[in-house]
Amino acid sequence: MVEITVAERMVAAMSHHLKDGEVVIMGAFSALPMLASRLAQLTHAPNVSFICGGSGAVNPTLEPLPESSCDDRLLRAECIYALPDVIDLEARPEIDVFFAGGLQIDAKGNCNLVGIGKPGEIKFRGPGSVGLPFLSRAGRYIIYTMAHNVRNFVPEVDFISGPGFVDNELLSDGPSLVITPLCVMDFEDKKMRLKSTHPGVTVEMVKENTGFEIIVPEDVGETPAPTDEELEIMKRLDPSGAARDSIR
């Protein structure tokens, strides 16, 4: 029997969330979202278009999938947009789904890449907010993380890089899905709600590792495994396993 890695399961969950015809965008550190978007194209959603952040690559073939979002292996694509053109696009209604993440994520789906601390007293300096402010103009967004613990899932972020369900007027529908190495969550009345846990993860473990209260419905199932076809495609696009094996 094939072993299915946590990363593969996360990629499948991302892919299943994308609808045919949608335009998807992702920034730095996005091997999983890139793989998920291409997987969606090759399975249920052939009319998905996806843009790999800084490289400007639109619908790269990902043969093979690179680890960096600006890699020149993305240059086999349907178009190489200049970055300012990508940014212009991020402000337009064309973008349906934005992949986002952060050092901290809070109950309202805010993401923080600025740092930990207070204005003028940042104790742990993050890299910076990059494109996350454009979340306010995307259709909806998927938050994904490479870790899930009480340090990154906090009641309230110290700084807002990507706005979740904030009071400001947003053009977007807000965050729609959270995918972590432990589970998949969605939102109910703008509050995070457990949807499914990965094999071997209990509801209790998710609660213990989340720094705020989440909604736990009665019917929390197991995050679906990728199909054989999906696994095969992932393996073909990422033969070295750089993405597939990044979380086991």
Partner: protein, 298 residues
């Protein structure tokens, strides 16, 4: 009369065009197309950089200048090493307060340069970007004006016209007509916005080549002040379609930042005075071959 060529040594270009206290723009994004040969020369000449601006995602191009203690302040949307981790010198200096961080986002990085490139006094932003902490952390560079057509408040960014831009292109002719063979990132607007432009290239090509490849020529030579011919000059970052980034070296860099960064600078920057010397120190032809030989789809 003969046409004047712009090819020169990195050392001459830096001493001629990079002035102490300047606003410096460095091109490339993440670990790709960082013009490291020229940046190492800036470190060697210990130029003090008044302000530094970068693409939306800076990497070792900014982190090295900061680690060498040369940078007063940075317009910062992101400094990091993508999947390899955070930027240690940037983090340390920002946390200690040695580096002034002008908190920014990608919209600032892009539109401040576009504003500069178009000689606009300021650049408005699309609605909705007010919802983050960034403008609150940086009221000097994000300000509001009235939309004269609707009377609504509109957030704007400061336009930047850097004193000098240091950019990597893959090819240029001797007159500065240059080609990006891969992604252009924000380098194109950086060139347009900046007063002086230093371009480092993998190879200098004849103008006849430029005339044949007009559909690829992105930069007219009239915007370029110096062409620096430094093959493998982006190392340890990648040069699109030429070679990939040196992950081993980048990890060594990140480790050195945490342990003894001055030893790193001694070995890789102050020691080797030229690009050729540097290439020997990092592993010579064997290393170069390894970074060029890879599984590429094009």
């Amino acid at each position: 009369m003969a046409r004047k060529e712009k090819v020169m040594e990195a050392g001459d270009a830096v001493s001629k065009f990079v002035k102490d206290g300047c606003l410096l723009a460095v091109g490339g994004m993440h670990m790709h197309n960082n013009a490291m040969a020229v940046i190492r020369e800036i470190v060697r000449q210990k130029k003090s950089i008044g302000s530094l601006t970068t693409s939306p995602s800076a990497c070792t191009n900014a982190d090295m200048l900061i680690g060498a203690g040369l940078v007063g302040e940075i317009y910062c949307s992101y400094v990091g090493f993508e999947h390899l981790g955070l930027a240690p010198n940037f983090r340390k200096s920002a946390q200690s307060g040695d580096l002034k961080v002008r908190e920014c986002d990608e919209a600032f990085s892009v539109y401040s340069l576009r504003g500069g490139a178009s000689s606009l006094p300021f650049h408005p932003l699309p609605k909705g970007l007010e919802a983050t902490s960034v403008p609150k952390l940086n009221p000097d560079d994000y300000k509001f004006t009235k939309d004269p057509f609707t009377g609504e408040d509109v957030m704007c960014v400061r336009s930047l016209q850097p004193d000098v831009a240091v950019i990597h292109c893959q090819k240029a002719d001797a007159y500065g007509n240059a080609i990006f063979e891969g992604s252009k990132f924000t380098d194109f607007d950086m060139i347009k916005a900046s007063d002086k432009v230093i371009i480092q290239v993998e190879e200098v090509v004849p103008t006849e080549y430029i005339l044949e490849k007009t559909h690829k020529v992105n930069v007219p030579g009239l915007l370029v002040d110096a062409v620096i011919n430094v093959p493998f000059g982006c190392h340890p970052t990648a040069s699109h379609r030429y070679y990939t980034y040196d992950e081993d070296h980048l990890k060594e860099y990140l480790k050195a930042c945490k342990e003894d960064f001055s030893a790193y600078l001694d070995k890789y920057v102050y020691g080797p005075k030229t690009n050729e010397d540097y290439l020997e120190v990092i592993g010579g032809r064997e290393k170069a071959t390894k970074l060029m030989e890879r599984d590429i789809p094009w």
